[in-house]
């Protein structure tokens, strides 16, 4: 069986002895065109692109991502735009795997099957559904697998070891470890050392699974966590968009530079 695009990324990064760099921005932020251009411009330095599907009642997102989501929705973002953006992005030469991240209601309203079909057609490689935890996500994760779309299970500091083992057993090629008790983008209130300790405990359960770490990671802290399979930067990038709008700068250029500098810190 051939490796999935996500697995290939991790294999390549391991060869280069560095963590994969996962970026997160919200689809349609600040608008459809610019968000597509941001994806294109960060594609060179990012390894996997997470694309957030903005939701009006996000129960796990901090201020920066909320701001991005509300801005996208206010500027007319619709679910169908997500697929259009991905489809257009995937046409470029150096495109990277795209993971959609969002809340279950958006998928539920679209219809699970129709949603997965659209994902497949537009070239989505994986999904993170914030409020569909294990075991509630078992059926949906199976459907994803059938379509060769990776369903990314989340693990958190509150996940017990027994539960962790069960989740990892049902997981696909990648899991996402939430670094601390926080919404996205909170100040890192746990030391990188402690985070890596927890990370290593998870890795021991099954070394073959790729575990990425996210929540609260910034330019300042990213280097201290580079002994992991992958690192996700989201809120800082969303803030980058907000700041450049505020200062009348071009968010596309700004984000491209930010991701370039992030990459430099982990190679």
């Amino acid at each position: 069986m051939s490796l999935s695009p996500i697995s290939l990324v991790f294999r390549r990064c391991k060869k280069e002895k560095r963590p994969a760099l996962l970026t997160y921005i919200v689809a349609g932020d600040p608008n459809k065109k610019k968000s597509l251009n941001i994806l294109k411009s960060i594609s060179e330095n990012a390894d996997i692109l997470e694309l957030g599907v903005g939701h009006s009642t996000p129960i796990a997102d901090g201020g920066q991502i909320q701001t991005s989501s509300y801005r996208a929705i206010k500027n007319g973002f619709k679910m169908k735009d997500t697929f259009q953006i991905v489809k257009r992005y995937k046409k470029i030469k150096n495109s990277k795997p795209v993971i959609l991240m969002g809340y279950y209601n958006m998928i539920y309203q679209y219809g699970e099957n129709k949603f997965l079909k659209k994902c497949k057609q537009s070239g989505v490689s994986g999904l993170i559904v914030v409020d569909l935890p294990w075991p509630e996500n078992k059926n949906f994760a199976k459907k994803c697998k059938k379509k060769s779309i990776s369903f990314v299970q989340l693990l958190s500091p509150t996940t017990s070891r027994i539960r962790m083992k069960k989740i990892i057993k049902d997981s696909h090629e990648m899991c996402y470890y939430i670094s601390m008790l926080s919404t996205t983008g909170g100040k890192l209130k746990v030391s990188p050392k402690k985070i890596l300790e927890n990370y290593n405990k998870i890795k021991k359960i099954n070394k073959a699974k790729n575990i990425v770490i996210g929540f609260g990671i910034t330019r300042k802290t990213i280097a201290s966590l580079k002994k992991s399979d992958g690192l996700v930067i989201g809120s800082e990038l969303c803030k980058g968009i907000t700041d450049s709008i505020k200062n009348g700068h071009n968010p596309v250029k700004k984000l491209s530079l930010m991701v370039k500098s992030l990459k430099r810190r982990i190679v």
Binding site: T57, I59, M79, L132, R163
Partner: protein, 410 residues
Amino acid sequence: MKLKKGIPLIDQHDKNGLWGGKFGGNFIPETLKKPVEDLNILFEKLRKDKNFIKERDYYFKNWINTPTPFIKLENITKHLGGAQIWAKVVSELNGGAHKILNSTVHCLIAKRAGRKYIVGDTGAGYAGKMLSMSAKKFGLKCKIFMGAKDIKRQKPNVDAMKKNGAEIFPVYTGSQTLVDAVSECMRYWVANNDTTHLCVGSTVGPAVFIKICGWSTSQISRELKVQIKEEFGEIPSKLKLINCVGGGSSSYGFWNEFIDYDKKQIELIGVEAGGPKKSKKHAAPLTNNSKMGVLHGSMQYVIQNSDGQIEETESISAGLDYSGVSALHCFLKDVGRARYTSATDEEALEAYKLITKYENLNPSLEPSHAFSEACKIAPRLSNDTVIIVNSCGDAQKDRDILKKRLGRYK
């Protein structure tokens, strides 16, 4: 999908916390899985613990003044003709509304869990005011999340919260009302569940919160059943229990003991907020057949657009101004046990005028919605029909709105 007899509705869910296999559940981030499960285990243990029940009953009786009065509204009955109109004056509870039942139980649980902090959301400000009162009583530090729009329109309750030492966090996102306050409160709990107990202010949220709240407010119908039997010698053969429905905590508590009765004998009528007469916006997902969706961790009928974005609501009554509604009510609607309708802002105001003109009662805008329906149907019914309205809140908090809209308060 069927109702079971002899089992409280709060316990008629499956292993995934779903009522009727589809409403409720736990659509929550992984970080909340364990705290929610821990709370569930603790709650199931405590509700079987005789000492805990004794403690609850002690505070219900001696601190929050249960049982509340059950009175006949003689003048309005005479004025309208037809059915007898009665009221269960739950607003006589300490603090002025039923929310004190839920907040007291939550504080007692938080104490048992060894928590020092308690957080909660509020719309009308009653849930927040009561939580601040209970927290003060039980020595817990209290934080309240409240929409910025609600802070403006429900100032008396905001003042009360501050007086009780609660810290208030204004929420500026979205419609700046209850739905956003609940989101922000849940986000806060995601980040602080290791030190903090969450009190969800209504029968909404992850399944365990629906259960705790319903278990707490059921005190209302436990009392009422005794009072009805004392008054009539038996349960009347034509009884209608009318309650406003926002999240659904007071109505569930008002109905719990009566759900097993045949609906031909006891009709349960829920009145949602229809919003301003000329506006398309409302807060009545059951009446207007909103689609199912996930809001705040729970599958329910919820006001949303075709994309699944939760839509803004509009109602004169902050306590009913919520896009979703309890999974318990979704279930009661689907099995046909309860009937749901709505009253507009104007109808609620008219009912308030009428009730305060004829009776020595000062219902807040929330139960005024229920009174509106009662006044609407009473004249068409026979005089052996007994209508009971849950007057679940006091209008003191609404004095600014009432002065503005009616030129008078009381």
